[in-house]
Symmetry: C2
Subunit: 324 residues, 2 copies
Amino acid sequence: MSLLVVGSVAYDSVRTPEGSRDRALGGSAMYFSVAASCLTEVSLVGIVGDDFERTHVHMLEARGVDVSGLEYAEGKTFHWSGVYSTEDVNQRETLDTQLNVFEEFNPTLNPRQRDSDFVFLANIDPALQLRVLEQMKRRPRLVALDSMNFWIDGRRDDLDRIVRGVDLFFLDEGEARSYAGEFNIVRAARRIQDMGPRAVVVKRGEHGVLVFDDDDIFSAPAFPLDSVVDPTGAGDSFAGGFMGLLAATGDTSRAGIRRAAIVGSVMGSFAVQDFSADRLTSITPSDIQDRFDNFVRLTQFDGDGLKIESGFLPVSLRARSANN
Amino acid sequence: MSLLVVGSVAYDSVRTPEGSRDRALGGSAMYFSVAASCLTEVSLVGIVGDDFERTHVHMLEARGVDVSGLEYAEGKTFHWSGVYSTEDVNQRETLDTQLNVFEEFNPTLNPRQRDSDFVFLANIDPALQLRVLEQMKRRPRLVALDSMNFWIDGRRDDLDRIVRGVDLFFLDEGEARSYAGEFNIVRAARRIQDMGPRAVVVKRGEHGVLVFDDDDIFSAPAFPLDSVVDPTGAGDSFAGGFMGLLAATGDTSRAGIRRAAIVGSVMGSFAVQDFSADRLTSITPSDIQDRFDNFVRLTQFDGDGLKIESGFLPVSLRARSANN
């Protein structure tokens, strides 16, 4: 089934404890597309400047990404520059953000894109996200949303409007707390679900994700890596794997959502193993399958093995149990 | 099999966003014993003052806890007082610590305790932990250790000595990083395992635990609760469930350790649902079984469902796959 992503394509200058990169290919829609393209075809809507390199377009095309919606504008491509803490690679500081051509981004969908089954609205101005949905010919099968504190704090009304119209909301733990105005993460997720979305996917970085899908809760760990080279794009790669699997299989049941969360975690774990999308662009289907199998090993335990009433309790408790 | 715990028994004055309690029963050995006693018999070695209430001894005795090793000394019981942040219930501030009779604690094991199969050295001075091990008649089947930053920073040599002699080391994420001098948690755990312990159990509060058991890694989530009343004692209750199951079943295989981590998480999740050990003392075996089953539901996904090479990849990737 068709998959559409609308978001940023950027150049990032990044310093992490493992090294640094200048003008590395980045942006939410780029990470999403590269991850999703491991699983299905994806159509990208974004904007770049006249400094955008042909090799980067070719890379996307070679992965089967439909880049006909990648608009070229006069000026420079969105540029972000940041540094990750040497003490805590989960902490980062933005040194500079140059929106450049991204400032004039006004996503326009072609007829085929307006007919997409699955839509991912990456982290951009919620007013633009609304405009994307308005262009759809029909209600897509599933619309997923990402956002950030900047919009939660500054564009609350627009954000509320778009949240009411989506099926899935991906946001990180702090954003979920802030948006819901509630510290407890279960209550925060429930409050956001009450606004409309069927599912809230709470991203917790190296602690994995919690998926609140109707009244179902699923916990997926992050893959324990002994080396994290560059955390940039982990969340968008997660979303790309997640939505890519949904679109590839068409299975949006609870079981399908759970499996998508694991495949998302697989893609997120690859994303952080190198700068930019370098690791993602080199993985093979068997790499994905292997890591998926590793997630099975990471989480499985003998769920039938506990028979708590079958005899090893002390007499006092056994008596108490019998009385209940 | 026999289970011994050596640690503190205390009175805690606690304020959390959900309320407050004055002189509530607390202490690492108390939480551990109450949790473990849901699964097996446990023998407690600790010290209390002449203000220690008979009802608290009776509660432990009624649960089958062997309190013959609970020493009564002249003076007051260890008293801790703290407040949990209203913004983040995971953050706490210690207002006051009065060691009182705990200052003279010199754990002495009786002959039966010296013959214990499973031993949990709760968070006390590592010099005392060493003295406990020296009293054992034979190497116990499994010795587990807990500690804290205070000893990591201030008693490093003694701590290193005891770490070399134990099988399991329970410590929280920050402590693991600090003790190993390594931010990456996989490398930190490996470094600690290299000192001696077969397994390092990294506790991450509401994000669950990571168990590094030889070269095996297991991730267990925390149970998502919509109300956390009092986080005090969660880690010791986790350890009590963990060790209690090992002692009850005698199964210290990898599968046994994984299952113990889940049962530990079950007990930790009950502990925080009320002040002191109030929830733990009211649960029945079927409550434990139910929550264990909920952990199964929380984590399960269709691990056989992904056949990444079976056809839904875009042509370009399928070709790439075939070349590998």
